[in-house]
């Protein structure tokens, strides 16, 4: 699958799950943010890092230094399994076939892309033995019939979550208005200045 979005080309597709190849540079880690308690996690982007824990500390400031955040998690890009990507009126769930169950099950987080060009948003969790099966189960359990263009399945035990105690990282964040350009009201100040000059 070729895409002009480099993230898409970087991701493995479900049909070709392979062992991780060693990298000759820092790999990427996908970053998911819960903007407020109760809101679904959504994909925000990626960071480069040598390992999962480093990715977590780098993602925290790269993606949550402004606005609000209540929780964050990161996962190795190679642990995100993606379905085919569809366009137009093709719902990706209609392309998903049943998948055979292997031994053992684990929890998978399922993400959906419901509008091209937007972020992947958390859809729900399922128990499955493989990412392929997780997506097949998502089709029967989480599919609402609404248009979905792409599905991601991420095994929960591969994720570096934010612990309950760590949620205090963001307590003072709403006060850091100085990080938001609109807080400086540059336009208003310019307008005042120009009026003063005119008068």
């Amino acid at each position: 699958m070729n895409s002009i979005d480099p993230r898409v080309n970087r991701l493995p597709i479900v049909e070709i799950v392979k062992p991780k190849a060693p990298l000759d540079q820092f790999g990427t880690y996908e970053v998911f943010v819960e903007p407020k308690p109760g809101k679904p996690f959504q994909h925000e982007g990626a960071v480069h890092a040598p390992n999962l824990e480093m990715a977590y500390i780098l993602a925290k400031e790269t993606f949550t230094r402004r606005f609000t955040c209540s929780s964050l998690y990161v996962v190795d890009t190679r642990d995100v399994f993606v379905s085919p990507l569809t366009e137009g009126d093709q719902n990706v769930f209609d392309l998903i076939e049943e998948s055979e169950s292997a031994n053992g099950t684990s929890d998978f987080e399922i993400y959906q892309l419901s509008k091209r060009g937007k972020q992947h948003v958390f859809l729900g969790s399922v128990k499955a033995s493989t990412p392929q099966e997780a997506i097949a189960i998502a089709k029967t359990k989480l599919n609402t019939g609404k248009m979905v263009y792409n599905i991601w399945a991420i095994e929960a035990n591969k994720i570096r979550f934010t612990t309950e105690e760590e949620k205090e990282y963001w307590i003072t964040l709403p006060e850091k208005k100085f990080r938001d350009a609109s807080n400086y009201k540059g336009g208003d100040k310019l307008k005042q200045f120009l009026e003063k000059v005119k008068a």
Binding site: V47, E166, E168, Y169, I171
Partner: protein, 251 residues
């Protein structure tokens, strides 16, 4: 409560945060990785914010306003430890300083969250999460580079040895040490130093770095009484350059 003792404590803490915040901000745009550049700059900004909160407490105790205090004093009127004013050097030194200082800072505020001076205790509780991230960031980097390659281990080891005498200077005694302890404002520098050593030892023991015998490390004192290295005044000149063009300007 003794105001002199309290003010001395607040000044040295605020000056540490301001000077290190400024130093660390010198990495902005030049960090080793884009993501790290952002993280280190954000934490520098947090430090300046924490210094503002402390200068504001000082203002409530009758001192001048925070901008005046921050931008119009000379080096010999600053009470920061010398560790925070040293030049950034290479990133290994900046990281080691960040680790050594922020470990002490987080423990100091943890102790102060029980302070009998309630405004300070409130501030300590409020910024606990920020400091928690700062120490996670520092510990993760030290564990990463402290076990990575012979070069990274060697660089961190040398920086650690250079920084340790200055780091012990954080705990220079105040003339009011006993008053702070007996009035339950602060448990004192000796208690802090003991907890700091334990924490530093526990992180370093998870790496290939080694700590020298503490007895052999001669602390560098003087910062708390206004004795500084030649590096502080140029920093202050640069930091206050814009402010001094027009001290009454509104930004």
């Amino acid at each position: 409560m003794n105001n002199q003792a309290l003010k001395e404590l607040l000044y040295k803490m605020a000056d540490d945060q301001l000077i290190l915040g400024h130093r660390n901000s010198e990495w902005t745009g030049m960090g080793p990785l884009l993501e790290e550049d952002i993280a280190f700059s954000s934490m520098a900004q947090d430090k300046i914010g924490q210094s503002l909160a402390l200068y504001t407490l000082l203002q409530e105790l009758g001192e001048r306003d925070p901008d005046t205090v921050a931008f119009t004093r000379n080096a010999n009127q600053f009470h920061n430890c010398q560790l925070v004013e040293l030049p950034n050097q290479e990133y290994d030194f900046s990281l080691i300083r960040h680790f050594l200082f922020d470990t002490a800072e987080a423990l100091r505020f943890e102790m102060l969250s029980e302070s009998s001076y309630e405004p300070l205790a409130q501030l300590a509780r409020k910024i606990r999460g920020e400091l928690r991230y700062h120490t996670l960031h520092a510990n993760t980097w030290i564990k990463q580079l402290g076990t990575a390659t012979p070069e990274s281990i060697d660089r961190l080891q040398k920086s650690l040895e250079n920084a340790l005498p200055f780091a012990l200077g954080i705990f220079e005694h105040s003339p009011h040490e006993q008053e702070l302890i007996s009035s339950n404002i602060f448990l004192g520098e000796e208690t802090l130093k003991k907890r700091w050593k334990e924490k530093v030892e526990s992180v370093i023991s998870q790496t290939d770095l080694t700590l020298p015998d503490w007895i052999l490390v001669e602390p560098t004192f003087g910062g708390r009484i206004g004795e500084h290295t030649a590096h502080l005044q140029p920093l202050l000149d640069e930091m206050s350059e814009v402010f001094k063009i027009d001290p009454t300007a509104e930004w």
